[in-house]
């Protein structure tokens, strides 16, 4: 029985300096609660969003890299719902209400032999963070930290084109490498990349899975959900269209006591942000995109005669690829590849291990929103422990309270 799986991935633009609508820092991590806030991101009366132009450009870069069209005019909308982590009780996001006006649509990504369509890419604000959810009706409070509120977030919505957990993992790996190659996001940071999965098997209803605790678990959750739905079909039961939570401990999905059905987001045009003209900028953004991983891989194989496996790894590692490209001459490419490959051998071995650990860690219960792939301080990604990373580049900011970065914020982004 064939399954259809679609993903909604949320990715923070962690390498920006400021939030999406104000000048507070986009990098809120490791700060005391509610110290990275201003009148605007706290939703104080009379404040207006001031859209970060660079966030628009980087979201467009992601859209273009996913093969999307970027419309000439972008629009923003309000998604209205009351929630403690949402200072205005609406989220500014994008919607294709009057034809395409989100930052991207109609793209695709090759995953092995399959093409995964990218239905939509949209730019929106991250809510704050609920750090403790007590029981309703009792004395338990919910504590809220708004440092994250307004962090630029890109949502990527795929078509229901993946057929199994393996393809899901493969797609996420490709997306992850692409985002890092663009230098728009350090996906190893806690909560920087999160996803929900929509799963259905032929003819059945669609089930949305949230609260998956790690990269590895999203595969497990998808596997479990396919099996569950197949079981329903065998027993002649209808699969209910619903949102289910991934239960990490029991490794099952459970029906969420969701009020989602009652939810009515009352989408409105966000008139505080005029339509944004990007037609002039898109050509420029496209021209300044870094070389894609696929193109680099082809180049290494074709021009430098690199072994396929080595070319594959080196091309997806923007730092090492850049190092290689900068140092490479006609004569030294073989020797250089050897030197780097000495290091790369370790990487090849730890690649699987990284996939398990880099996004694992405690996830917050968040029934309404995306799974947060978290990587706490105790879950240092395998590769950041590699001594070779420490020296690159020398400007990395020391920050004892933060997880060591898997790699320094990558790029000198030079589109402005």
């Amino acid at each position: 029985m064939s399954a259809k799986i679609g993903l909604e991935i949320h990715c923070q633009l962690t390498t920006l300096n400021s939030k999406l609508f104000c000048a507070c820092r986009a990098d809120y991590r490791g700060m005391a609660p509610n110290t990275n806030v201003c009148a605007t991101c706290m939703g104080l009366p009379g404040t207006l969003p001031r859209l970060n132009g660079e966030a628009v450009r980087r979201a467009a870069a992601i859209a273009l890299s996913l093969g999307c069209e970027v419309p000439g005019t972008l629009r923003f909308f309000r998604k209205n719902y009351f929630y403690p982590d949402l200072p205005k009780n609406y989220q500014i996001t994008q919607l294709d209400l009057y034809g395409p006006s989100s930052v991207g649509h109609g793209g695709s990504v090759a995953v092995g032999d399959r093409t995964v369509s990218i239905e939509r890419v949209q730019l929106e604000e991250d809510p704050g963070r609920i750090v403790y959810g007590g029981e309703g009706g009792s004395a338990g409070d919910t504590l809220v930290d708004y440092n994250r509120a307004g962090t630029p977030l890109v949502e990527i919505v795929t078509g229901p084109d993946m057929r199994g957990a393996r393809e899901v993992r493969e797609f996420l790996g490709i997306l992850h490498d692409m985002l890092e190659n663009l230098g728009v996001s350090d996906t190893s940071l806690e909560g920087a990349m999160r996803a929900d999965a929509n799963v259905s098997i032929e003819g059945g209803n669609r089930v949305e899975i949230k609260n998956v605790t790690s990269f590895h678990d999203i595969g497990r959750a998808v596997e479990y959900e396919i099996a569950r739905q197949a079981g329903n079909v065998e027993h002649g039961l209808e699969t209910v269209q619903e949102t289910r939570q991934w239960d990490e401990r029991r490794r099952t999905t459970v029906g969420a006591r969701s009020k989602e059905a009652d939810q009515d987001y009352r989408y409105l045009i966000e008139h505080d942000i005029p339509p944004v003209g990007v037609s002039g900028a898109v050509a420029q953004i496209r021209a300044s995109l870094p070389e894609s991983i696929a193109s680099r891989r082809r180049r290494y194989a074709a021009e430098d005669g690199m072994q396929a496996q080595v070319a594959d790894v080196l091309s997806s590692e923007p730092h090492f690829a850049r190092l290689y490209d900068a140092a490479r001459t006609g004569e030294n490419s073989r020797e250089l590849a050897n030197i780097i490959t000495t290091d790369l051998m370790g990487l090849l071995e730890t690649r699987e291990a990284r996939d398990c650990s880099r996004w694992s860690g405690p996830a917050r219960r968040s029934p309404r929103r995306s799974t947060r792939w978290a990587c706490g301080p105790s879950m240092t990604p395998a590769r950041s422990r590699a001594p070779s990373r420490r020296s690159w580049p020398p400007t990395q900011r020391p920050s004892p309270t933060r997880a060591p970065r898997r790699r320094p914020s990558t790029t000198s982004w030079a589109w402005s």
Partner: protein, 485 residues
């Protein structure tokens, strides 16, 4: 020196500069007048205790030969939905009765920068929803021309303060006529600028796609001077226009109307009411000054009030959602509440008019109804805008004339209970908001001793030229004197 509270802003500043006028004495006299009359009028809901000290500082600066600005020392009243960094900003709602804003609205900081001194915050309908100021949580304001009558609204307190010489000029906000309606009822000048001309940063949003902060003053020139000080691009408001000169609002005040074409809405100016006759007379006055007057019929105008109420309700529903009492607001501990129950309990402090609009605002854009109401209203706005555009361009109109409000001020407590009948009061004013055009109310005459203003709606972006026509009409208006208090 004796304080002359009726001074225009230009004379005021000139007097302060030359030493003929003492800003401190003027401010003291203003505060004295407020103390004497505001118990009845209730224009103000809070006063800035620093105002007198600031006025003294302006005098010192003037004596020292420092630049004291074009509005030097002018006592400025600010509607209570416009943020100031000192004192309360409550929107006259119990929901925000203890709220203090950490910053000045751009319009306020620019007027302060031009030398104006904030006297206090003025009364208004709660969150600007109303046209009488009776929906203020702090009690109604009274019309200085007849204290049994309402001053109009929602910027009623500002209009009263200007009219009763309790300030030199004031700021209001206009979502569907909230500057112009009270300006008309209190016989002062009120301008709703072109959308995007004055920064909304610091204006507490009600219907953010159509509202503007506007000047309320005793003359067209004063209003123009305030515009010069506060209009123009603001990096804190992405909807402010970069194009066009920020200043120049006084440039056309002496241009006259010779050769201009003024459109009149025949349905409005030919009513056999005192207000209708006054409007026809206003058209005649402009004609005698050299303008040509043509009748204009906007076929879809009947849509405007429906579109206006749908859009304002939808936007208000969203804009007021942030008042959940969690991050700021009044003291109500969260203990024992579930989130939704807490927010609902906290919001029971919203007044009935606001609650009603929240319900409408939840309904019109909701799933299954948006296509019939919210999206239709957005379309209607574009239809109305293009209809107005073609009327203006095909007839070569400089502006359109109508009464600002179809009736003179009504009695306090004479609540119009039928909401649809109440819609009629907005019928002349909402079109300018829906189409983004500038519109000004100019005092014109009295009907049975009650003020009646005329509205002029101009071309988008041509606020200065509109003020030129307004100045001509002002010159042709009856001499109404001042309200006897």
């Amino acid at each position: 020196m004796t304080a002359n509270l009726a001074l225009g802003l230009a004379e005021y500043a000139e007097g302060v500069r030359s030493g003929d006028v003492s800003a401190e004495e003027q401010m003291a006299a203003t505060l004295e007048r407020i103390a004497r009359h505001d118990g009845v009028l209730h224009a103000y809901v809070s006063l800035d205790p620093g105002a007198l000290g600031e006025a003294a500082r302006v005098d010192r600066d003037a004596r020292a030969g420092r630049d004291v600005g074009p509005l030097a020392g002018a006592p400025l009243a600010v509607k209570d939905n416009i943020c100031v960094s000192r004192g309360p900003t409550t929107c006259c709602s119990r929901m925000l009765e203890s709220y203090r804003s950490p910053y000045d609205a751009t319009a306020v900081s620019r007027l302060r920068g031009a030398g104006a001194i904030v006297v206090g915050k003025t009364n208004m309908d709660e969150f600007a929803m109303g046209i009488t100021t009776e929906f203020s949580s702090f009690g109604p304001s009274r019309n200085p021309w007849d204290t049994d009558r309402v001053p109009g609204g929602s910027s009623g307190g500002s209009a009263v303060a200007v009219s009763a010489l309790e300030c030199a000029a004031a700021l209001g906000s206009d979502t569907g006529g909230s500057v112009r309606n009270p300006a008309s009822f209190c016989s002062i000048v009120g301008l709703k600028p072109t959308y995007g001309r004055v920064s909304r940063h610091g204006l507490v949003s009600y219907a953010n796609s159509i509202e503007q902060i506007g000047p309320m003053a005793r003359s067209v020139r004063d209003a123009a001077m305030m515009m010069d000080a506060m209009a123009g691009h603001d990096p804190m408001d992405d909807t402010t226009r970069r194009a066009g000169p920020a200043g120049g609002h006084t440039a056309h005040l002496r241009d006259g109307v010779e050769g201009l074409v003024v459109g009149v809405d025949a349905r409005e100016v030919d009513r056999s009411t005192c207000v209708g006759r006054a409007a026809r007379r206003a058209a005649g006055a402009l004609e005698s000054l050299g303008a040509s007057v043509v009748d204009v019929d906007l076929a879809h105008e009947g849509l405007s009030v429906a579109a206006y109420y749908v859009l304002t309700a939808a936007e208000a529903g969203s804009n007021l959602a942030r008042y959940d009492n969690i991050r700021y607001g009044y003291d109500m501990p969260p203990d024992g509440y579930e989130h939704g129950a807490y927010v609902t309990a906290a919001r029971s402090r919203l007044g009935p008019e606001v609650q009603r609009r929240m319900i409408l605002g939840g309904f019109v854009p909701s799933a299954g109804h948006a296509g019939r109401y919210y999206l239709k209203a957005l379309r209607a706005r574009d239809v109305l805008a293009s209809e107005a555009d073609s009327a203006f361009s095909s007839r070569g109109l400089a502006c359109m004339l109508s009464p600002t409000v179809p009736v003179p001020p009504f009695r306090v407590g004479e609540k119009i209970d039928d909401p649809v009948e109440l819609f009629r009061m907005d019928s002349n004013t909402v079109l300018a908001n829906l189409t983004g055009r500038p519109a000004v109310s100019v005092p014109f005459t009295l009907c049975d001793g009650l003020p009646v203003g005329m509205q002029l709606v101009g071309r988008a972006g041509e606020d200065a030229r509109l003020l030129g026509v307004a100045a001509a009409l002002e010159g042709a208006a009856d001499d109404m004197g001042v309200p006897a208090l």
